[in-house]
Symmetry: none
Subunit: 281 residues, 2 copies
DNA sequence: GTCAATATGAAATATTAATTCCAATCCGTA
DNA sequence: TACGGATTGGAATTAATATTTCATATTGAC
């Protein structure tokens, strides 16, 4: 290995892009693959990578040698180092934010704490959301005549956002909140051709549970957003989502719930447009 | 490998912590090392890891087997998968999410788009929040007798959350929303010893602007959350925050605004408790 | 079109690493 | 303290993986 072998990923990347034009076909093929799938290079074996890229293992080694490495193994080190660094920097950043927040370093720390909680919640839900459930919920809501939205207390802001967004999308909806105490009557109008989005987290607001039960008994299908399979909402729901929100200082984030709610709403709008086009065309 | 082998890192971690007490000495040693240095497990060889942890390679394999894996290699997969998922830096991951979302790959893409928008917004505000303004806003709100909360339409969910949180913290507040059309009268009660949190983004809801103007003319100090220095709210406010929310599919995120609102609220509660202690002590 | 240089594929080989095995040690119990 | 089972260390074995080699194909120059 001579002295100008790229040691870090960025240099390596630049080197590859630089020489791209002058590389033989198969080597170029591997080069492109490497830049597109750096993770595969980091973790794969020479054989598996070669197969994925559609070349022979020996080509992979030639590629490494052409870049000045003495073999595939040393090339791979660069790709691994990259993952290590990136990962630690991300982790470190969040951890630092949270650590600072938790040791209580003034008001800025409170802010950092909420940002960290929100980020964590988002990243959790992004991993854990079940695609099939999501599709099912969309289908169910898209064919509803009226969507009833049900949530109190901490979840109420989410409900009010859903109602706002559905309104913008011209989807008929009813936020179940009556200053005049007419919630029960409002719910009474719902039919099995409608649908409900119910949101509640522990400690579950009794009114939400009661209203959800009542509306479920009328045969109205329910999509629930809640925090565990033991949630009383889960038993009434056709589809339910488990959303784990991180908390800070006793206040739980609602960013993941909010993101899910926005996505549901817009996806329902989307689905209705598709259905509309199909009917017409 | 039986059916309850941990497949993801978090489950694995929980399993290890759970059994920790009952593990033999050397196995426990490896277990601790694994949780402390997950990256080393992901990248190292059985021999190198064993050496770093101060045990024999065979112990490492026994550890894996005790967890239900059929060998070190399958245990290592979990640690590698973790790196892959957390993968690229924050930015890169976001870019990937957004790219996928924008090429319109179905409903899941919509969800990913909203998660990406929320994450971006959070990371932006985390960088751009001005500490001095933040402290100033907290001071101003902490000494208010009543905090009036003013927001319509898209910002309304944030306002309702603030009202909820202030209530939980036993801070007197008034959400300016009257079904009976009595907002003007409600605002009329505010005095310079009170304070206002006003939230509005372009296109600014005329009612919010009008009410903010009215309450400002009564000499009530205003903290505004808005989206640019040209915002009509900025001119009325004692302190104002510029929050840039990313959007997806025409719907802007509110996660950054929400995080700021939560932080403001809790910080105000905190400051009041401090002040209370000082007065008593 | 022919030749030489270069590139490629496939299998053989060398290397490295994971796993197994067995003897030695430790630990709790009678 | 003697026994048995569990745990550990270390070497032997086996599996896997990278690398090399060599025959074949491709490309470009004359």
């Amino acid at each position: 290995m001579d002295e100008r072998v790229p040691r870090d990923f960025e240099t390596l990347r630049a080197t590859i892009l630089d020489r791209r034009a002058s590389l033989p076909k198969r080597i170029a093929q591997i080069a492109a693959y490497a830049l597109d799938n750096p993770d595969d290079i980091a973790f794969g074996t020479a054989a598996s990578i070669a197969a994925s890229a559609g070349v022979q293992p020996s080509t992979l080694i030639r590629f490494a040698q052409q870049l000045g490495f003495d073999g595939f193994t040393s090339l791979q080190q660069v790709f691994r180092e990259r993952l290590r660094e990136r990962n630690s920097s991300y982790d470190e950043r969040l951890a630092a934010l949270r650590a600072k927040a938790e040791e209580g370093a003034g008001h800025r720390a409170i802010f950092d704490g909420f940002v960290a909680a929100a980020s964590t919640s988002l990243s959790d839900i992004s991993r854990s959301l079940n695609d099939a459930h999501f599709e099912e919920a969309i289908a169910l809501l898209a064919k509803a005549e009226t969507i009833y939205v049900l949530a109190k207390r901490r979840s109420y802001p989410v409900a009010s956002y859903i109602a706002y967004a559905l309104g913008k999308l011209k989807i008929r909806n009813q936020l179940v909140e009556s200053a005049a105490g007419l919630n029960a009557e409002m719910i009474g109008f719902a039919t099995p051709r409608d649908a409900v989005i119910a949101i509640s987290f522990s400690p579950y607001a009794p009114a939400t549970i009661e209203e959800t039960r009542a509306i479920a008994e009328q045969g109205v299908p329910i999509v629930a957003i809640t925090d565990s399979s033991f949630s009383p909402l889960a038993q009434f729901a056709k589809v339910w989502f488990e959303v784990a929100e991180a908390d800070f200082g006793g206040f739980r984030s609602i960013s993941a719930t909010m993101a899910l709610a926005m996505a549901l709403t817009v996806a329902v709008g989307e689905k209705r447009r598709e259905a509309g086009r199909r009917r017409k065309g």
